[in-house]
Symmetry: C2
Subunit: 335 residues, 2 copies
């Protein structure tokens, strides 16, 4: 088992390669009772079909559109730290697909996927931000979930120090096969592999397979405390942390306002959250936390510093509307 803060691999040309659902977010502010009236669970992600997407969109207030997608946000964050990143995700050759591709390029993420010309449209996520800054997401996956093993270019995966996969992809068989292929390629090339559990409902849908991935090809796990408890079906957080410690070389567990805990088989580091007031929109907090940690790992920083970068990036993104950093994380980190 490699030391997670070991020196980086000189044969890799990029810090992190991310794989995920390529999504354009539609963000609107709304009162709590709108979330309830739509039968949605606050602070979670619900999958919806295209008809429901149009219906819910029609009921929402005015919004703004911004590129999102969990792993894509994370790759944008790595780039904002001054790191290098590539992204694998599927968009259609439509207006939102152009938006997504342009935004990735615009922040300096390598994104070379061809835009699909057959199949469903580019994915969108309708995000309702309530006055408490929590976000509730309804996602129409469109073409993004049709990621296939053929979309995984071995050279792209091998180019990264680290591979980062999002659990959200785990709903369609072909996308699962694509993730497994990416994990296999990365492992064979001696790259470290990371997974985020993404969402409690996602964990509940795929608990057994996630357990196999974590015990098997995944080296680094990102989760919040609810997702970690859900994964192991253990109510006590410390007991769940002991369980994950046996499975991965590094687990990064976010614990909301209290910050995060990084655990390896022989270390446990508690990182405080960065103070931020007011918290405007928590969308992207977990994604940016992962960006900071992954950037730090790829650049060979110690774990405490990696955790600090994660807290810093999360604090930036919750200070404004939108899922990606607006300020340079490199500047904020004094790098």
């Amino acid at each position: 088992m490699a030391n997670p803060d070991s020196d980086h691999d000189e044969t890799a040309t990029v810090d992190v390669v991310g794989v995920g659902n390529a999504i354009v977010d539609v963000i609107t502010q709304c009162p709590d009772d709108f979330v309830e009236s739509q039968g949605l669970t606050k602070n979670s992600m619900t999958l919806i079909d295209e008809d429901r997407a149009h219906e819910l969109y029609g009921l929402m207030g005015a919004g703004i559109e911004a590129s999102g997608g969990s792993a894509a946000n994370t790759m944008a964050g790595v780039a904002s730290f001054g790191g290098t990143s590539s992204y694998i995700g599927k968009v259609f050759d439509d207006e939102l697909g152009e938006v997504f591709a342009n935004d990735m390029r615009g922040v300096g993420v390598n994104f070379d996927m061809n835009r699909a010309t057959t199949g469903p449209s580019t994915a969108r996520c309708l995000i309702l931000v309530t006055p408490d800054a929590q976000r509730t997401m309804s996602t129409y996956l469109g073409i993004s979930s049709l990621l296939e093993p053929d979309d995984i270019e071995p050279a792209t995966v091998e180019s990264g120090q680290l591979l980062f996969c999002e659990g959200y992809l785990w709903d369609i068989d072909s996308a699962k096969a694509a993730i497994r292929k990416a994990l296999t390629i990365a492992g064979a090339a001696g790259r470290r592999t990371a997974l985020t559990l993404s969402d409690l409902f996602c964990v509940e849908r795929h608990r057994e397979e996630f357990r196999e991935l974590v015990a098997g090809p995944v080296d680094i796990l990102f989760a919040n405390r609810q997702e970690l408890r859900g994964l192991y079906e253990i109510d006590d957080l410390d007991a769940a942390i002991e369980a994950v410690r046996a499975d991965v070389e590094l687990a990064c567990i976010t614990v909301g306002k209290e910050g995060s805990v990084l655990v390896t088989p022989n270390e446990r580091i508690e990182i405080e959250a960065e103070e931020i007031a007011p918290v405007v929109d928590t969308t992207g907090a977990g994604d940016q936390y992962a960006a900071g940690v992954l950037f730090g790992l790829a650049q060979g920083f110690d774990l405490a510093k990696c955790g600090y970068f994660g807290s810093l990036a999360a604090a930036e993104v919750i200070s404004h509307v939108g899922p990606r950093p607006l300020q340079s994380l490199k500047d904020l980190a004094g790098l």
Copy 2:
């Protein structure tokens, strides 16, 4: 000539009806040298074709998308004050067209136009915001400029206390004919009509026709000082104000940080700008100024109060990224 702050017309059911280019904005922050390198004139609007739109978009950094369009922003502002408004503008049946229509409905503006299924796509405006908060706009007009007389529904125009038209529409003959039709209908129904000169380049392209409109069917003019000087080809602002005074019953001249001047044939009221720090993005400042004044006029407030509403709305919109108010202008105005 009617008194511009006379009581409102009881037969009208809506405060203001706006006619303009229906546009989705793409907003990105960039350094000054990018604006220069693209041959753009800071703080102005340039018309671009679709190829150039894709090219410039590809060169821009990551951005956010939000519904825009000058008169559409103004109608959104009127609704934010708690006023009622309707909008006439043309979008295509594509993703951005859905965004535009949804955002209008979402803020409570009546928008009943059918989305076109033939012709070019929905218009977009690429907005570069420089560190000084100034915006430089490049607009691909798409379907928006194909507004025709048939798109002007007499009942919609007659329903408004006030008709508000944007000068930006004045580039295509069919759109000019549509505006003339709207002005004629409004005049015949005894409604007051307003025009914004929109942009200095726009004034230079259409000076003679704008002069005819202002001397003829237009009752209320909105302009900034450069546009007003350009309209009359008079360098001295006070002399230009004297000129416009002879042409319209009310002219509302914005003078940047110094606020605005409202003039009628026998009054001149100077309104201070609302203090705001930091100024983040000046996009939409003129549109929201017009929203405040038009709302005030339609509701029968005196001219000083109308000007104050304009300053208040402009101050709100320049305090954040995006062309429309994020806070309730009704609440801000204490209404």
